[in-house]
């Protein structure tokens, strides 16, 4: 019985060692979708599964003016009214840790 358990433990250990390299980095990720009422809802987070409450999310026009400076709420989401001008969404978790979402990549509802 003990031997069985030991073998199983070793197996699990080997498997986890094999998969450990997968979880090294945590890259920023952000997803935006259109919701009813001409609104856009963006959800931010990191690839290790953690949320991003309080992280900056700006809506920027194609002419580089910030249309809507925002921060994600406690649930890592931000909802805003769809701007009239052409825009992109910038999820900004620090220099080099950004995600850009162009308006063309936001799926209409």
């Amino acid at each position: 019985m003990t031997l069985m358990r030991l073998t199983r433990a070793c197996g699990v250990l080997l498997l986890s060692a094999g998969f450990s390299t997968v979880a090294l980095a945590h890259n920023p990720m952000c997803e935006c979708k259109e919701i009813p009422g001409e609104q856009i809802q963006c959800t931010g987070g990191f690839s290790d599964g953690s949320g991003a409450p309080g992280v900056t999310l700006d809506v920027i026009g194609y002419d580089e003016t910030i249309l809507l400076p925002g921060k994600l709420g406690q649930d890592s989401t931000l909802t805003f009214k769809k701007p009239a001008a052409e825009f992109y969404v910038l999820f900004d978790a620090g220099p080099g840790h950004v995600v850009e979402i162009d308006q063309a990549d936001i799926q209409p509802q």
């Binding site: 690839s47 840790h97 995600v99």
Partner: protein
């Protein structure tokens, strides 16, 4: 009233197993040997003994500065929860290591310094960055390097993706460019 099972002689195979099982287990020690070539190749790659990466792209001129770019592995992007990621390594030129504050990498020309792409981290002699490859990347895309100096200046340079990573182009072709 169960009778104890009659002692039937074990089959020859079972007899062999019962006699030699502990000796045969010594063979398990050979199992790690099979993994060693890959282990040592990876160790040398991570340590930098085999160069900057598996495939050196060459020098990219960025204003007054330059960097040596290399694909960490000569393969297409690896899947990640944040989308397919391709790892690049880079080394700053000898004179610019002191002057450059940050180096960024992006597919397509950055809209602004804030959106300059992923940042390289590590020493100036061996930096690494994991670049997200959007599924809609055109095969004629350019890889843009943005460098920010300690003096506040910013310079940009680019290299065709087909030159930087033929494996990524092959991967994109296999995926089929999304509309």
């Amino acid at each position: 009233m169960s009778k104890p099972a009659a002692a039937t002689p074990p089959s020859p195979l079972r007899a062999f197993w019962l006699k030699w099982r502990f000796h045969i287990n010594v063979l398990l020690l050979l199992v790690p040997l099979g993994f060693m070539p890959k282990y040592f190749a990876d160790a040398a790659l991570f340590r930098g003994d085999t160069g900057l990466g598996e495939r050196v792209v060459g020098d990219v001129q960025v204003g007054p500065w330059s960097l040596k770019l290399a694909e960490f592995r000569n393969e297409g992007p690896r899947p990640d929860p944040a989308g397919p990621m391709k790892s690049f390594n880079a080394a700053l030129c000898a004179t610019c290591a002191e002057q450059v504050k940050a180096t960024y990498l992006r597919i397509g020309k950055p809209r602004s310094l804030r959106a300059a792409g992923v940042i390289f981290f590590g020493t100036p002699y061996r930096m690494g960055a994991a670049l997200p490859i959007p599924e809609r990347t055109p095969v004629d895309a350019e890889l843009w390097v943005t460098m920010e100096g300690w003096d506040g200046t910013m310079h940009q340079g680019s290299v065709p993706l087909s030159q930087a990573s033929p494996a990524t182009i092959a991967w994109l072709n296999k995926q089929g460019v999304k509309p």
